[in-house]
Amino acid sequence: MSLKQIDERRLREVALTPDEYRVIVQALKRPPNDVELGMLGVLWSEHCSYKTSKELLRKLPSTGPAVLQGPGENAGAVSIGGGWAAVFKIESHNHPSAIEPYQGAATGVGGILRDVIAMGARPIALLDSLRFGPLPASRRHFEGVVAGIGGYGNCIGVPTVAGEGYFEDCYANNPLVNAMCVGLVRADQLMRARAEGAGNRLLLVGADTGRDGIHGASFASLELDEDSASRRPAVQVGNPFLEKCLLEACMDLTRTDAVVAIQDLGAAGLTSSVAECAGRVAGAGARIDVLRVPRRERSMSPYDVMLSESQERMLVVVRRGREREVQRIFEEWDLTSAVIGEVTDDGAVTVMEGEDEVARLPVKLLTEGAPLRRLTGVPPEPAPILVIDSLPPPADLGATLLQLLASPNLCSRMPVIRRYDHMVGDSTVIEPGGDAAMLRVKGTRVGLAVTTACNSRYCELDPNLGAQLAVAEAARNIIATGAQPLAVTDCLNFANPDRPEVYWQMEETVAGLAQACRALEIPIVSGNVSLYNESSGGAGIYPTPVVGMVGQIDDYAERLHAGFRHECDFVLLIGSSHNDLGGTEYLKVVHGKVAGRPPALDLVRERAVSRLILTAAHAGLLRSAHDCSDGGMLVALAEACLLAGFGMRGPALEPEPPLRLDAAFFGESPSRFIVSAPSRAMPELQSLARRHHVEIALLGLAGGDVLELEGQLRVPLSDLRQAWEGGLA
């Protein structure tokens, strides 16, 4: 079969290359028909096949004593004690959100919820990691995405408790919307989406299938260009109400042993869920009849049905003969369900339209057949060097602090947080706004801390170090609450990897993630990759490896908040500061530069500091803890005051040379915390710090209505608040 016989336009439509087409024809020993071509096209898209990133991802550590399920399933799972497992995953919905911010973000939330539900877990928290171009130009994206995330999460009744929001030029045409979901399940009831047992039935439940989002997966694997407009029907409209019913019905399924597996329908719809489910069991296949698929529209072809990305659908593998029992559960929730086929042992996905076979493809070809793309990375021009000696010292520390607090990247997230229901579930014991949020596991004393982190400016300047810093910051967020980091889910957002510099960024990022996760002993149990975040002509995004992390505390009564708790407590800086001004918010906001090397990270020190904080927290020596990250020490200090509602007073801070004053205040050296402690705890804290070889410095006493360092800085709390709360207006 020569390539001539297939229309090139048709190949482009299904996003396959001529080479890939050749591989298909060779494997099948015949040309694929149209339906088969469409099915292969979506499953071989970057979004589903990971053909560009698979090799790299193998380098990530994914094992550890708490890991119950690593990568390869719909979500990862770790044991959190008391017989419970935390199930979590992060996923991108960047491309749909660029086109239709509200629905794109909403359906992103819907999709990640289904991944967790498919593991048999009840979702207990959502997180959103967002990036936009600068305001006000990107306000439409920002408002739409925030409304969409709230629109879905609020309606379904899962609290949105944490996340991030950054504004940088590189995201102006390519906003990033990464959503993470955390769920709970009894460890012995964890489900896996494996199509076991030939003869078992495939039940499709939830929404009727329409012509939505056909080719959405391939669409997410292309750059955005002029043409995107014509692919716009690829955007789907979510129905959180239906998903709420689906969620409850799936939870009810745990009452029966009639269910073998649950698999969500996400990108590439029925095609990928059937193939993936079968692909997880050696030799398994599936046979389905598209005529049995409930539809929303008339005259849909088998092609449409197999590729539709209609939301709010699940595939349930039911033991043969027990279909009615399971269907009754869905009926109770007024949900449509239909037996559309069965599990086979012929290793093939067979699609029937009544009596006619319309497609038949080997499962392995669908799920693993895409030829891996071996790209080579070439380092780009080195980042601009920063000569810190050329930086003038800050003229007015107070004014600089106010300027930083008002920066959209640092200011209060309250205008976003209050649009999300972050309390439903009655479990939020640390509300959003500090470092990690914390949820209690009802019926136990266990608290689950959750966070996302990534400073992509660091990653742009040095992707390897930037990725390490993202892991370290996420871990510090968890530790600031008194919890122990358990595991990571990561979302790797990049520009077009066909450019060697971008592929190099991917290699470096993965190396950095792997190194930091190994050193801190935090495995990566799930994740997602989003490539081609680049518009034709325009520049691509910064490398953005978003790190989602969960941590655990045995008794949430010992948890710590970020804000000070009591007036007259001692305020301390834990950890040491260096001349880390490269890539900082201070450098960008005050000096208009993105330059230098990101802050240096010593993973051994990072561990020592973490251990100190956790030991002190556990011993009840601390009243609050807040990690120093973007904006540096002074911003962290101001935040701890603002969250408390009172100020702090201390002597002037005189850094010892060679530490510069601006670096001491606004440098972003990692491995540091602002903590507060009652005076009686001081001796023990000091000796603990000595034992851990960690610096500890007294900054002052909490209280009053100003933030004051005598003779150096004196800002009323109300001024801080005005700057901080107005940053997103």
Binding site: A147, M423, D426, K442, A557
Partner: protein, 230 residues
């Protein structure tokens, strides 16, 4: 505890009732045709039927609502929280309607409420003029009624909670959603049907940031027991 498809505060309220208070809890499904002998019916928060068309519009016609209306007419205690309040208005058990927040945004935040009536089965554990700190979480909680209805509500003392500042002063900037007269909760004339937008079940344990909500649940529990023993 009535559960409609799309309800989500059922488990939170249920937790307070049976885990925090140790009272007896029954769930009522929207298709149920009887109230299983409950002493107080709670319509909890959520997005029943997605709140499509209008909040509470479709839920109001669920089979169980017929029994709830009967029960209310006989003087039974009915307590609508958030979505439950919206449903009670749609069902004409309470006057007025809840419309889109004036900010046009969903709002989830702590609010202060001043208690205007402490003689009701729902508020007997509170002091009159007491200020409660209870969170809200809604996109359509702006109370509206025509002027005649409003003045009737005021004259009859049917306004139970008003949004206020920490000191209990009712002021425009303490009103999170544009409700007329800063209304956060009202009761029917007979005093047995309460609707309120804030979520008391979210502040019934200290680890959740406060226990003011528990006062309302305790009041209801005691009243229900009294009704039973009278």
């Amino acid at each position: 505890m009535v559960v409609f498809p799309g309800t989500w505060s059922d488990r939170d309220c249920g937790w307070v009732i049976d885990q925090v208070l140790g009272a007896e809890l029954r769930y009522l499904w929207h298709k149920d045709a009887d109230l299983k002998g409950c002493d107080c019916v709670i319509l909890p928060g959520g997005f029943a039927y997605g709140d499509y068309l209008r909040t509470g519009a479709i839920a109001r016609f669920a089979p169980v609502m017929e029994k709830v209306i009967e029960f209310a007419d006989q003087g039974g205690l009915v307590w609508g929280i958030c979505n439950g309040f919206q449903i009670l208005c749609e069902a004409d058990l309470l006057p007025g309607a809840l419309i889109r927040n004036s900010s046009l945004e969903f709002r989830c935040e702590w609010t202060h409420l001043v208690v205007e009536r402490a003689d009701l089965p729902f508020t007997s554990g509170c002091e009159e003029r007491e200020v409660l700190r209870i969170p809200i979480s809604h996109g359509e909680g702006s109370y509206f009624a025509d002027p005649a209805t409003l003045s009737r509500l005021e004259q009859n003392g049917q306004v139970v909670f008003r949004y206020s500042d920490v000191e209990g002063r009712v002021r425009p900037n303490a009103n999170p959603n544009g409700s007329l007269h800063s209304i956060a909760g009202i009761v029917n004339e007979r005093g047995n049907v309460l609707g309120m937008m804030p979520h008391p079940e979210r502040c019934a344990e200290p680890e959740l940031g406060g226990t003011d909500g528990l006062k309302l649940f305790r009041s209801v529990m005691h009243s229900a027991v009294e009704v039973l023993t009278v």
